[in-house]
Subunit: 143 residues, 2 copies
DNA sequence: CACGATGAGTTGTACTGTGCAACCAGTAGT
DNA sequence: ACTACTGGTTGCACAGTACAACTCATCGTG
């Protein structure tokens, strides 16, 4: 398992480089929406509403952190909390129209930036890369 | 460019998920060495010494941030600054033995964690994934 | 050679994101 | 009803970060 070991090393190193750069590029690209806010909004859109606890679990964040982020997003008018009739402890988080709108803009500009970076890639490579990333990240969900 | 577009979307999303989890797992895995410290030490080992400015550029960090990180690492005895005889503004950063040692330990534990996550992957997939990551991250260096 | 421009690094300051612990409120099991 | 659990908030402390202003060394040009 020599070559595989080297590959594992490279993967963790490159993932880390990426992580280091992600925030910087986010604040360059969309100073109005921090990386973490963008991520949370994106999750809300994708799932069409979810609980703060789910966000915390999915992104390995403390519930207090999510609570504060959500508070900020709500103050900014980007999300709204709806009480869950089935469980009065729970607030289901939903994007507002404003939230959906700003998320859309940011997504477009991000897609442009990422797309530029990936412009020379073949469709096959793109899909394979995407597949690998999903597979890597889904590990903690499956086991 | 429909499928490719979706792939780009997935790539940026999954990269972001990863970035969000990286710090959390780092502090779980090696509380004695923060993710950023680990990354910087790794870079020093790889390059066998470099300037603070290079670190800042490579990781998209402000030079003041790097300066403070390096100060902390030096206080901890993990790196040393060597004056550059050719340019007296420059300090070349080098790992100390202690730095190399702790980096080695952390690398082992990280490799174990990442390796566990990648255990089921074929060698071919690992290498292809690693290659994609390198290709993705090297974009800013080439263009 | 002197002077202005540039580059490496440090320090002051302020802010964001984060986790932990303590807490409150609602739910579920016995 | 009592207890255990779960979703969420708040108090607190701290790490990482950026920006701006600074010092000191280097390099080019008149």
């Amino acid at each position: 398992m020599r070559a595989a070991d080297r590959a594992v090393e490279t993967i963790q190193h490159e993932m880390t480089v990426f992580a280091r750069r992600a925030r910087a590029s986010a604040s360059r690209l969309h100073p109005e929406l921090s990386l973490v806010s963008y991520t949370l909004l994106g999750h809300l859109e994708e799932r069409d509403g979810c609980r703060a606890t789910d966000l915390a679990a999915h992104y390995a964040l403390d519930k207090s952190t999510v609570s504060r982020q959500v508070t900020a997003l709500e103050r900014a008018g980007l999300v709204e909390r709806r009480p869950d009739p089935a469980d009065h402890r729970v607030q289901v988080l939903h994007l507002t129209d404003a939230g959906r709108s700003i998320l859309g803009q940011v997504t477009v500009s991000r897609r442009a930036a990422v797309g530029e970076r990936l412009a020379e890639w073949s469709e096959e490579d793109l899909e394979r890369f995407a597949g690998y990333l999903v597979r890597y990240n889904s590990w903690s969900r499956s086991g």
